[in-house]
Amino acid sequence: MNDTIIEIKDLKINIKIDEGTLTAVRGVDFEIKKGETLGLVGESGCGKSLTSKAILGINDKKCKAEGEIIFDADNLGKVNLLSLNPRGKEIRSVRGKQISMIFQEPMVAFSPMYTIGNQINEATLLHITKDKKKAKEISLEVMRKVGIANAEKRYDQYPHEFSGGMLQRALIAMALVCNPKLLIADEPTTALDVTIQAQILELMKELQKDFGMSILFITHDLGTVAKMCDRVAVMYLGRIVESAPAVEIYKNPQHPYTQGLIGSVHKIGTKNQDRLFSIEGTVPLALNLPAGCGFYDRCHKRIEGVCNVYDPSLVDVGDDHKIACFACTGCPNAKEGQGHE
């Protein structure tokens, strides 16, 4: 497909810790098309943040990523981002300019030592123009666009003079100042008040139309996914367990985990007496994973002798809907090699 901006193939991330090596991301595949918003959903610790940071190559030194991340870069052509030196010039020409990122907690995402203007302008100066006057104009322009009132005054203020919502706007401004092809939003509204959350989401949607970029939207909140995304990939324990267009996943969730997630969202109109559905048990530690499906222990549809022996891989069930579950797609035939042992 020509309009694919980024394609991730069999991404694995290993983390070295005292107790040994932990495989936090265990073979993730997805792609994002031009102008599309992909929601990556999962609970904390499932590897979604690691995956997004791996795209930019800004994970901790202890994390080692394998696989391929093919990005269609303006200056480099189609390039595997993982093959670039994470401290080198090439990847830096991608970061911030072609792929940029906004983070979960805007309060700590800025250095307290420099003015907001200085920090936004840094990206402009790095990627767009060396002319300081022009750069400042561009930065101010973007600040106005993201809805920071009185941008000239705010430009010279420090992060501690901003509210959380304003900081998130500033962070978005910083990410968008170079008009990137792909914006990675790592739980951008989690740390904000509900009313501000809605504003920021609205802003992001608007800006996406203006700038025509793609968004990788990472969240654990299915409510925001419904508002924002075209397609959704559900991650569990370092794997994508189900991916489908957003509407499809709400209407027709297949994987027991996805069903659990959707069942646990409170919907307006349900009776108070109805208890929210909750998934039993806890996520197993990724250090010593048992064989078979990672969700086995918590699954209510598990098939003994299959699910705890084979690990399911994503199977297309039509309509761009992919599921990794034996209970949904039928038992594996070991000879055919469906699924990993």
Partner: protein, 331 residues
């Protein structure tokens, strides 16, 4: 900012009064006074003193009064006439005794301070950027040894080493020829060589401390979210290290500056005695031993005032470095 400095300077006055009082109180604590130790010393050499002689000496030196009266007179002299009292031992005013060595003391302390920061900042940054590398381990190990060795003994070890390898004895900053012939260009290398020993000796313990602080702080800062933001923005590693991390990491280093000054004074006192440096340390020791109290009191007082000034300077530097502090002061 000016208002802040002014306010701090005003707060200086009560602190200074308490400091001078505490110092004077401690200095006069030893039983007896200068006359007692003077008489004891002279008697040992066979001089005979009648009680009248002793009483005359006491009256002459103004040691008859209760100690707080002596304190008030001392302070009155300092405030009204800039007179820090009379040194019994030297037989002249305390100020003139101190002036003999003040410039050299200040120069030595200042150079050591520069040396400490000049050496420890780059090393600290290197260690943080190469955490757990061989270089980091080696430098940290030397750092630990440096903090664990009393610096006056380090002086002896270094002098012993120089003696064994070159056969020269480097005592003091100036050789006898230098003192006899005055400074000449050909002495400069030797003079610099002689300066190195006190520099290393007095500077080491502080240097090692700063290295450890810088290293720990840099590692802390590197783990913060904003370095990730900067990296995601496309900043180079150098920008991240120097623009972002270093500036934040400097905070405790700068606020520790007054503390370094204090350790320098502390360290130089003993080391100067060992190395026979013409700075104030040895004078203080003899003054304390012979109960030459105005001299001893003034030396300690001057050091305390310098430390207080250092605190003020480091607070100002801190406000300049860190906007958060600047704003809380303004508000």
């Amino acid at each position: 900012m000016l208002k802040y400095i002014g306010k701090r300077l005003l707060l200086f006055i009560p602190t200074l009064i308490i400091i001078s009082f505490v110092i004077f109180f401690i200095i006069q604590l030893p039983p007896g006074d200068y006359v007692t130790s003077y008489v004891a010393a002279m008697s040992a050499e066979g001089e005979v003193f009648t009680p009248e002689d002793i009483a005359y000496l006491r009256e002459h030196f103004g040691l008859d009064d209760p100690w707080f009266v002596q304190y008030l007179n001392w302070i009155k002299g300092i405030v009204t006439e800039g007179d820090f009292g009379y040194s019994f031992e030297y037989g002249r005013s305390v100020w003139s005794v101190i002036m003999d060595r003040l410039y050299l003391t200040l120069a030595v302390s200042f150079i050591i301070l520069l040396f400490q920061y000049g050496v420890s900042l780059p090393i600290g940054i290197y260690c943080a950027n190469h955490q757990y590398s061989a270089g980091d381990y080696a430098l940290s190990f030397i750092g630990f040894i440096g903090t664990a060795t009393p610096n006056f003994l380090l002086a002896i070890i270094i002098m012993y080493y120089i003696y064994v390898t070159t056969g020269n004895v480097y005592l003091g900053l100036f050789s006898t020829e230098m003192l006899q012939n005055g400074m000449r260009w050909e002495y400069v290398p030797e003079f610099l060589g002689r300066c190195m020993i006190p520099l290393i000796v007095i500077g080491t313990s502080g240097t090692c401390g700063i290295i450890r602080t810088v290293r720990a702080q840099m590692l802390d800062e590197q783990a913060r979210q904003y370095t990730l933001t900067a990296r995601a923005k496309g900043c180079s590693e150098a920008t991240i290290t120097y623009k972002y991390c270093l500036r934040a990491a400097l905070n405790p280093v700068v606020s520790g500056m007054a503390g370094s000054l204090r350790t320098i004074f502390s360290g130089s006192t003993v080391s100067a005695i060992v190395m026979n440096l013409a700075i104030q340390g040895p004078v203080l020791l003899t003054a304390l031993k012979s109960q030459d109290m105005y001299l001893a009191g003034t030396i300690v007082l001057i050091q305390a005032v310098l430390v207080l000034l250092g605190t003020l300077l480091s607070d100002i530097a801190l406000a300049w470095l860190d906007p958060r502090i600047r704003f809380s002061e303004r508000g």
